[in-house]
């Protein structure tokens, strides 16, 4: 088991603070005066306010604070070109670059040109995440931070607030379409919540530790001292068109003479409860088991090949000659999710007036954006040829096809096919960040 320097690693790596922190705000900041920002950063680090993994929050804990920096932000704080160049290419190019947009499926309605933030003159330098225990404490600390931005040489591009947390009967957080979310986050070696050896190597989510490739270490930016215990953070604001989704599901289910809940479950690959769809199953068994490999569902007659969860993590089928081989490959492309939903939850998901926006503030952590986040998005989620399929992307969050999307539901004796639906999730903003260790934050402040 790997020993992690917990007091060096920012707390969000280990926890999304869902348990004790009801509120979360995401400040998207621009550096206007690097000198002042460095002083502010130094103060922040010295005061010990940035949360780290050695702390154990409980119900008396008021705040948690984490801070990540984008490439443009790093460039404002660091003049040394060699140091800048040592970051991985995707981070340097940025999520909104032409090449990355094409790779991620950010075209048409998802085009960075249409984003709320993360593009053009709304490029983000610093992401400041503030968690609090309750509304009153959150309002007070937000206001105190906001008052200090100007003196810190910062201007606020936007502030995104997480919405209320809705849980299902098993304690899993529910996303806006109505499904339990965050069920299969990787079990990482050396994490405080993990007993024994985890299934995924520490180095996949933290730099400076062995990764999934025979214990090699992923290249660290700047220097070992700076890079170790840091990781890359991917942030995307994903708007969910809940009304359109359920409208389509209901209409199509009626047309095909099937249950809408069944059709939606096939799209996701899980029932609303979070239970994976098993072969032959017609209703939600309401029983969660996450230790499956799809070995019992090799033909996809339960959880369809093209469904969201099978694409997001194909597990033990399809990536190699056997189960072990496939798992080995799948585990080289995992991401650690730490996001939250935003916007008001709809009482009746098919009645969405479209007045207020709702969706997911998607955050994931990974040591190599290209091999992990971008790979999952491009080679699994948006891949029209995934698992031998023909011309379909992820029916839930895919963005490879704007219109005339298809989805095959494997069945016996004949597959069922759903055709001609629209995108249900739209990218509204996003950026790549580096989440430095506490030491690295100190180095940035002193640079």
């Amino acid at each position: 088991m790997t020993t992690i320097k917990l007091d060096e690693v920012q707390g969000i790596v280990f926890s999304g603070y869902n348990k004790y922190m009801a509120n979360a705000s995401y400040y998207l900041l621009r550096i206007e005066d690097a000198g002042k920002t460095k002083a502010w950063l130094k103060n922040l680090v010295d005061s010990g306010r940035i949360s780290h993994g050695a702390e154990k929050p409980d119900d008396t804990t008021e705040n948690r604070l984490n801070l990540a920096i984008s490439y443009p932000g790093y460039c404002k704080l660091e003049a040394d070109a060699a140091k800048r160049y040592s970051f991985e290419l995707s981070f340097r190019e940025g999520m909104n670059s032409e090449h990355r947009s094409a790779l991620l499926g950010d075209r048409g309605p998802n085009d960075p040109g249409k984003w709320n933030w993360g593009n053009g003159n709304k490029e983000v330098d610093i992401l400041l995440i503030l968690f609090s225990k309750d509304d009153a404490i959150h309002a007070a600390s937000c206001s105190s931070f906001e008052k200090g931005f100007k003196a810190a040489g910062l201007s606020k591009i936007d502030r995104l607030d997480a919405g209320a947390k809705v849980q299902n009967q098993h304690g899993f957080v529910r996303e806006h379409f109505g499904f339990a979310d965050g069920i299969s986050d990787p079990v990482v070696d050396g994490f405080p919540t993990v007993t024994g050896a985890g299934e995924i190597a520490t180095g996949e989510f933290l730099l400076g530790y062995p990764n999934q490739y025979d214990g090699k270490k992923t290249q660290m930016p700047v220097s070992e001292q700076f890079g170790a215990n840091g990781t890359y953070l991917v942030f995307r604001q994903l708007k969910q068109n809940v009304g359109e989704f359920w409208q389509f599901i209901n209409d199509e289910a009626k047309r095909q003479g099937i249950d809408p809940e069944y059709l939606a479950a096939k799209f996701v690959g899980r029932w609303k409860s979070g239970a994976v769809v098993a072969p032959g199953e017609k209703t939600d068994p309401d029983k969660i088991n996450n230790s499956f490999t799809f070995a019992n569902d090799k033909d996809g007659t339960g959880c369809p090949f093209g469904s969201h969860i099978r694409r997001a993590n194909p597990r033990g089928v399809g990536l190699g000659e056997n189960e072990a081989e496939s798992l080995k490959v799948a585990n080289r492309h995992r991401i650690l999710r730490r996001g939250r939903s935003y916007g008001r939850f709809l009482e009746d998901p098919s009645q969405d007036t479209g007045k207020d926006e709702r969706g997911l503030l998607f955050i994931c952590l990974n040591a190599n954006i290209e091999r992990q986040f971008e790979f999952v998005q491009h080679t699994w989620i948006n891949n029209l040829k995934f698992a031998g399929l023909y011309d379909e992307d992820d029916p839930l969050i895919g963005s490879a096809l704007e219109t005339d999307r298809k989805f095959t539901i494997q069945d016996e004796p004949l597959r069922r096919r759903v055709c001609g639906f629209q995108q249900f999730v739209t990218t509204r903003g996003g950026a790549y960040f580096f989440l430095p260790s506490l030491t690295a934050l100190g180095m940035l402040a002193a640079s």
Binding site: A102, Y213, N368, H378, E412
Partner: protein
């Protein structure tokens, strides 16, 4: 075919200026110069320039080369003749920029191209025998069947497998009044090559082991002993080379030039990879590489004939060509591959599934003295491409941009093509109908 010609130094820019717009326009097909789609024996083709000073900066300058890779059905000379016959202007414009251009006489031009065809030291085809028209026809047949099922599914699900098949066949008969296109038999080597290969391996094994212990007479014993001694000697020399070639630990990153290549990738379902790398100096590495490539070629011909090259299921065509040494004596290895999906996935598949074969090839190469392949032990058994990041950087930095890249079926993956063939074959089969229905 792989036609390699030397570019006249003063014509390099002319050639680029001519080919680049054709490459950019390949999807729109508005170019008046040439339409590759008209060649119905052509699957993929590429034109690219191998720069004279690539890959090691600072070495003696060498002439730039034009490479033309074409993956075709049938005989090379037939394709060359057709190429010239249909688009003489194009061929003349391109090759008048090259050394040895014989003028516009079609016969001489064809002879010139054929004389410069380097073929391949190793060549892999995902689906041998699947010619382009067959691929097109099977795509079309599948389209008709899928639409039929979409329309009639509710009526069909209650029926037996044989009844569903009969309904599909009946429907296709209305689409093809002259008769449903027949399925061609698969080539002998596609069907039985792997058995042949295993028999061959077993035979060599028996002769070696048996021969060594004197079962087959003194001559065989002598040969087997020689082979064993040879293998031991090879191992010793190899390890000596590997220790001498050791890399430093300095991390190095992808160059700006390679980032430019990366920016045009992954926009479509398929990609093309072109890589040129120097072979490590000396004859030992050169001949080792030749033997390894001959082995890969044998595997490709006999074993990997069903869309799967040692676990990689995304390659349509791949070829390895050793370029003859130039004036500076540097020999280079050229690798070209037409594959499905992203570069990241392709390289990942190499590492995950084919580390041994791939390392056995590229551990004999380097980009420059201090830019070698990741440290390898025993040719392929340890290290090498398993050093994921270093290997990816090495691969990335060996790549060249293409001027023209054409694919005859950008919408079909290797798996799609095989599945379409199965769907077609299933129309004429009476067994395994349940498996056939799963292909739909």
């Amino acid at each position: 075919m792989t036609v390699i010609t030397e570019i006249l130094p003063d014509k390099l820019e002319v050639l680029k200026t001519y080919l680049e717009p054709i490459g950019l326009d390949i999807k729109n097909k508005k170019s008046q110069e040439i339409s590759f789609a008209a060649y119905d024996h052509l699957h993929y083709c590429t034109f690219f320039v191998i720069p004279g000073d690539h890959p090691s900066p600072g070495s003696s300058p060498a002439p730039a080369l034009l490479a033309f890779e074409a993956n075709i059905d049938g005989e090379v000379k037939d394709f060359v003749n057709e190429l010239i016959e249909r688009n003489p202007d194009f061929v003349n414009k391109v090759y008048s920029c090259c050394v040895g251009y014989p003028g516009s006489d079609a016969g001489q031009l064809a002879a010139y191209l054929l004389a410069n065809d380097q073929g391949a030291n190793a060549f892999y085809v995902a689906h041998p025998g699947q010619n382009r028209n067959t691929i097109y026809r099977q795509r079309e047949i599948r389209g008709h069947i899928e639409k039929f099922i979409d329309d009639k599914r509710s009526e069909l699900v209650g029926q037996t497998e044989a009844q569903i098949q009969a309904a599909v066949v009946q429907h296709l008969q209305t689409v093809y009044p002259a008769g449903i296109p027949k399925i061609a038999a698969q080539p002998f080597l596609t069907l039985y090559g792997d058995k042949l290969f295993n028999a061959l391996l077993a035979l060599v094994g028996i002769v070696l082991v048996g021969g060594f212990f004197g079962w087959f007479g003194p001559f065989t014993e002598f040969l087997a002993t020689l082979a064993v001694l040879g293998a031991v000697a090879f191992g010793v020399v190899l390890r000596w080379h590997e220790m001498r070639d050791k890399q430093d630990d300095k991390p190095w990153v992808v160059s700006e030039q390679m980032q430019a290549i990366q920016r045009v990738e992954d926009r479509q379902l398929q990609n093309h990879l072109t890589s040129v790398i120097e072979i490590k100096p000396g004859n030992f590495r050169f001949y080792t590489l030749k033997v390894v490539l001959a082995g890969i070629n044998l595997v490709a011909k006999l074993v990997a004939t069903k869309g799967n090259l040692s676990g990689i299921v995304t390659i349509h065509f791949a070829r390895w060509v050793i370029l003859p040494g130039n004036a500076g004596g540097r020999r280079r290895l050229l690798f070209m591959s037409n594959y499905d999906g992203s570069w990241e996935n392709y390289l990942g598949e190499f590492i995950d599934h084919a580390s041994v074969g791939l390392t056995a090839v590229w551990s004999n190469t380097q980009q420059a003295k201090d830019r070698g392949f990741p440290d390898t032990q025993w040719l392929a058994l340890r290290g090498g491409s398993r050093d994921e990041q270093r290997f990816k950087n090495f691969a990335r930095n060996s790549q060249l941009p293409e001027l023209v890249w054409y694919s005859a079926y950008t919408d079909l993956s290797v798996k799609n093509i095989e599945n379409n063939r199965r769907i077609h074959a299933g129309l004429f089969s009476t067994t395994d109908l349940a498996a056939w229905l799963k292909c739909l």
